[in-house]
Amino acid sequence: MAERIVIDPITRIEGHLRVEIEVKDGKITDAYSAGTMVRGIETILKGRDPRDAWAFVGRVCGVCTSTHSLTSVRTVENALKISVPPNAELIRNLMANALYIQDHVVHFYQLHALDWVDVVSALKANPAEASKIAQSISSWPKSSVGYFTDIQKKFKSFVESGQLGIFANGYWGHKAYKLPPEVNLIAVAHYLEALEFQKEIVKVHTVFGGKNPHPNYLVGGVPCSINIEEANAVNAERLAFVGKLFEDAKTFVDQVYIPDLVAIAGFYKDWGAIGGGLSNYLAFGDFPSNGYNNPESFKMPRGAILGRDLSKIHEVKADDPEQIQEFVNNSWYEYSKGDKTGLHPWEGETKFNYTGPKPPYEHLDFTQKYSWVKTPRWKGHPMEVGPLSRMLVGYASGRADYKEVIDSTLKALDVPVTALFSTLGRTAARGLETKLVCGWALEFYQQLLANIKNGDTRTQNNEKWEPASWPKHAKGIGMVEAPRGALSHFIVIEDQKIANYQLVVPTTWNASPRDPQGQRSAYEESLIGTPVADSKIPLEVLRTIHSFDPCLACAVHLYDENGTHIHDLKTY
């Protein structure tokens, strides 16, 4: 007899996610993922100035902060046919690079590590042994016996206080934790260091965007001006600061994040065969090195992989109505042509239809609609998006930098390439990608310096700034690789106002409920077959769900309380 287990809230994510699983004979036999919060930002955007949209959609998410704003300015620029100056492209790349580094480091240490690291076990560690291990895997200077002794002492007094704060009720002592106490101690030390590090790298956003979270963006370029003879603009001091932030980030990633990742992964190789889930991967690509309208120049290539066939990359076109479609058969919305229909975002509709139980409730009924997340499909296929998809597309595209980091890591861990299709593969891909991003950021930085040296300081294209210069009707698409995966926005502008705005978001792809064919999306599929040692303690479920780095506020944003159609684009 299968046992039904509810995990709600799933913590250490962004937003509100509920997972229900069925466990039989110690393995998950079925899984359901539900988004349980809505806000309705797309409805709110209607009728507003398209140049303001970046700020509204920026507030879709404060964890992957800036990524929706970037997508939005690209979307509006695509609709109005605006090209941004090369410096603006580079500064946007640098800001996105900084986000990747901050977001992936925080994910690994603050959001994911506690699934693998038993912090209480660190109290039993021998600091001298921990020091020896740390020095054997990295040249990071904070590795002395004294350092680990202090960290342990600090943590011991914390635990002995009896007020465990964020570590209260954790799964400490669970038999699925495999790290020796010394490695746990190193991880605890780096948990604290990562917390300090992450607030540094975001200063790239503060320099160029004035603040973080939620830095400022601008349609046509970037808001900051460059003037190397002026204290009130991006000058040599500001640029040197940015350069140092990226140099420090590279050091931290190379000497802390990657060695920790490899060391921890070495104890969890069995997770290289768990949590694989779907066999289809989608990436929009990003980080243009020669203009956003030239995808061949992207550092991250665009493409789709079907059936784990790495010999073929399928072409992805977001504006093709046959490629991307969204379904609502299991989401709390309804379509005028019936809920089994799939609609391209250009023709999308959002009609609210909450049929779930009135809170408080114990269970959701999965024979009916059960989530606020819609279900997107690519050519009818459920697709995984995120770091693993990007690394696979880069690898399958034959990119040398991708092949190098992936092959060397597989070799270091002594695992086959198929180990990538797993929970462990997803977590490793995120780290390896961060390493690549650190290198690209320094390249973009050098290009920015070279441009300025050559006399190009332009950061903004004002040609189409005034709404009077816009066509009566315009529509556009913006595509970004957000840290969590392929992100796209769709806009329709009519009479200088937003007539429609729609977002198809990474976590929508991954966390969505089943489609009309009954196909599971990534979260649900990846949980099938996962071993669960103790059904009251959902540690294994958290490992796989966290390997996707869920962002539910992003995934759930559609809503219209009156049940009117807010996305009827058929006239365009």
Binding site: E14, V38, G62, E160, V207, G221, P223, I226, P359, Y559
Partner: protein
């Protein structure tokens, strides 16, 4: 072990922080809180003798930018203290436990520390239908109302919890409401901003720890220490405003020289926040310094306060600004929308007089107090 509650100071020392650094932290916080020198000793004393404060931090309709800002607190010791030294017993972004184990954590605090714990809220509460935000099968409203019954005070983080923020912008499809509209009988501190500045968040926590009472609040329940100054009055570009030196389009010559962004839509004249004083992310910059107008994110209803790039009305009425204080008094109780015209007219009066003077670059601000 259960009843041993180490003081804040013991915790800090236990974490290897020297007494000197501890006092430095107290001095920094005293400065942020606007205290005189004697306040340093008061903070130090309080932190050495008081036990850790149990905190339950809820997430409702939000984007987690407040949690993200919180972990950016810039003084090194602040990140440690605020994460570990208050007892942050429930915080969905950071806590180890999920599901039942997570819910047990906050229920334990409510049972163990009645009247002593603080409830912090990130996000608004949907009222159109409670099912729009559910955690563990219960609605945000049910969870919040139960948790505040026996709490000491409520901290509403950011614009969502203070004023509803983006989801409450017209037409507010989910009926999103701020904390103070759905609970009663408890003090609510609105720590405004989207998000609030990290060091302001830390400063509010330290105030609660130190003085064992809520900070003085303005008419919108914002701590006066951080929200009594207009961004406009504390802006380092104010001299350019007074001198009539404006950015006319983004990245023009004026922009490259750091002129005033008023004509680009800056909402600094109607926005109360510490951006010009504390600045962001370890005082690296703030929006205006990085070339973008203030969008007014610490004010209620700022999303509906006109398009961001349309300048505030009232440029025509130049003349001498009599007192900045008067405007401040009016603003404390007014809504952001209501004050827009009034504030800008008054401030721009000064402009005409100054624009006629020749020494534009060297003009020193002479606001009368």
């Amino acid at each position: 072990m259960e009843n041993h509650k180490p003081t804040f100071y013991e915790e800090v020392r236990g974490n290897g922080v020297s007494r000197r650094d501890f006092l430095k932290f107290c001095t920094t916080m005293a400065a942020f809180l606007g205290l005189e020198a004697s306040g340093v000793a008061q903070i130090a004393k309080a932190l050495q003798s008081k036990p850790r404060l149990p905190v339950i931090w809820f997430h409702f309709q939000e984007c987690t930018c407040c949690s993200e800002s919180f972990i950016r607190a810039s003084h090194p010791i602040v990140a440690n203290i605020v994460l570990d030294k208050i007892s942050l017993d429930y915080q969905e972004t950071l806590m180890a436990a999920s599901g039942v184990q997570a819910e047990d954590a906050y229920k334990a605090v409510m049972a163990k520390y009645p009247g002593e714990y603080i409830v912090m809220v990130e996000g608004s509460i949907p009222t159109e239908n409670e099912a729009y935000c559910c955690i563990g099968g219960r609605s945000a409203l049910q969870i919040l109302q139960e948790a505040v019954k026996n709490c000491k005070a409520v901290v509403a983080w950011g614009n969502c919890a203070s004023a509803g923020c983006v989801q409450a912008a017209s037409p507010n499809p989910t009926g999103a409401k701020p904390v103070h509209k759905v609970i009663s009988g408890k003090p609510v501190i609105n720590v405004q901003g989207c998000p609030p500045i990290a060091d302001v968040m830390a400063g509010v926590v330290v105030h609660l720890l130190t003085f064992d009472r809520i900070p003085q609040l303005d008419g919108l329940n914002r701590p006066k220490a951080f929200y009594s100054r207009r961004v406009h009055d504390t802006c380092y570009r104010r001299a350019n405003f007074d001198a009539g030196l404006f950015v006319e389009s983004f990245d023009d010559e004026g922009a490259k020289r750091g002129y005033c962004l008023y004509k680009m839509g800056c909402k600094g004249p109607v926005t109360y926040n510490s951006c010009g004083i504390i600045k962001w992310n370890d005082s690296v910059s703030y929006p205006i310094q990085s070339g973008h107008p203030c969008i007014g994110c610490s004010e209620a209803g700022f999303w509906d306060n006109g398009p961001f790039y349309q300048h505030l009305p009232g440029v025509a009425g130049f003349g001498v600004e009599t007192t900045a204080d008067k405007i401040g008094v009016g603003l404390g109780v007014a809504t952001a929308v209501g004050i827009a015209g009034h504030a800008i007219v008054t401030n721009i009066r000064k402009h005409k007089e100054i624009i006629n003077e020749p020494a534009e670059g060297s003009k020193v601000e002479t606001t009368k107090e």
